[in-house]
Symmetry: C2
Subunit: 204 residues, 2 copies
């Protein structure tokens, strides 16, 4: 997605240790026009998977997933990190280690909003080591729902997340895929994704 | 906002102790069509305040604030509860006690995204005791920015938040205002708000 790549090149900052700062448009401040386009792009890539719900995780997944939910006209569920007082007993719970700060977080979803008959797209801000996404995959499995796609706004291609998810055999879409960092320079992946269906397109 | 009131009456559940569960469309699952309309309604109410940025807090404020940011075409900043590794040193920090679970949380904003020349609208999911919103107000004050409006999707009129904020002398808009709960029955406030400018309208 060229608009996103341009934004990353213009405003993204590589902080070392694989950490890309995109706080100016996604992780602290949100650019609503870009987020709308991100939503349309996810919708275009997942329009044929017959999804019934989108699942994401607190916090930074919410904005891009909501934009996609608006474009696809599907309800969005965000896994909570803490069980709120309003949540029913015995929710689905999975543990994930945060990639950037190393702490362990719980991801919690109420069975009210994740059903065996659902077809789920998991969306998140980053696909890096895929630890958060794998926890979301387990939540979907716990509910008996069918996982039909995984999407991330930005993929760090060098951190192994895509191959860690490959056995799921479902479309994995990222809107900008970073091959590596070269000093402060951000290099995008330019290969075509292998076939993921009729709408398979480049991650770029 | 009638669409919202209808949704609250249909899907909201009063759990006692002033706690309204709206997890089916705002706090755990998000109804994207309703959220779009919420965004348009905030935009209508705040179209004349000449805002430059919207400020909200993790987590449940993000969806309605993003919808409003899309409609108003303004950048959205969400205060973080934990300082991410990507955040610059010496951010603005305020402490707030959570209304529903009683724990204390920090709300943290980077000076990069809150400037003295900004005109800020604060948006959140609930206006109850206004403890979170007051912490956001202090963050705005720390930055030297001008606060030009406060909005909440749902106001609990019986918890004193509005009067706690009245000395700010700025428009406070809620899209559905609950007067009280009567057993399981939800009673909305039907009075007209006092004048808050040209677009002053009822909170309902």
């Amino acid at each position: 997605m060229q608009l996103l790549k341009d934004k990353i090149l213009k405003e993204g900052k590589y902080l070392g240790r694989g950490i890309l700062k995109v706080d100016s448009f996604m992780n602290h401040q949100i650019d609503p026009a870009l987020m709308k386009e991100i939503g349309f792009e996810f919708a275009r890539r997942f329009k044929n998977v017959k999804a019934t719900r989108i699942l994401t995780a607190e916090t930074s997944g919410i904005a891009p997933a909501l934009a996609a939910a608006m474009a696809l006209e599907l309800p969005l569920v965000f896994a909570r990190k803490h069980k709120p007082v309003t949540m029913a007993e015995n929710p689905y719970t999975e543990r994930a280690e945060s990639h950037t700060h190393g702490k362990t977080v719980d991801l919690i979803v109420s069975p009210e909003y994740l059903k065996a008959e659902d077809r789920i797209i998991i969306l998140d801000d980053f696909l890096a080591s895929a630890r958060t996404i794998k926890a979301l995959v387990k939540l979907v499995a716990s509910s008996g729902a069918t996982l039909v796609g995984i999407g991330a706004v930005i993929e760090k291609g060098f951190e192994g997340g895509r191959s860690a998810l490959s056995e799921l055999n479902i479309p994995i879409e990222s809107l900008a895929s970073i091959a590596n960092f070269d000093g402060e320079k951000i290099n995008f992946t330019d290969y075509m994704l292998k076939d993921t269906g009729d709408d398979s397109i480049s991650p770029n």
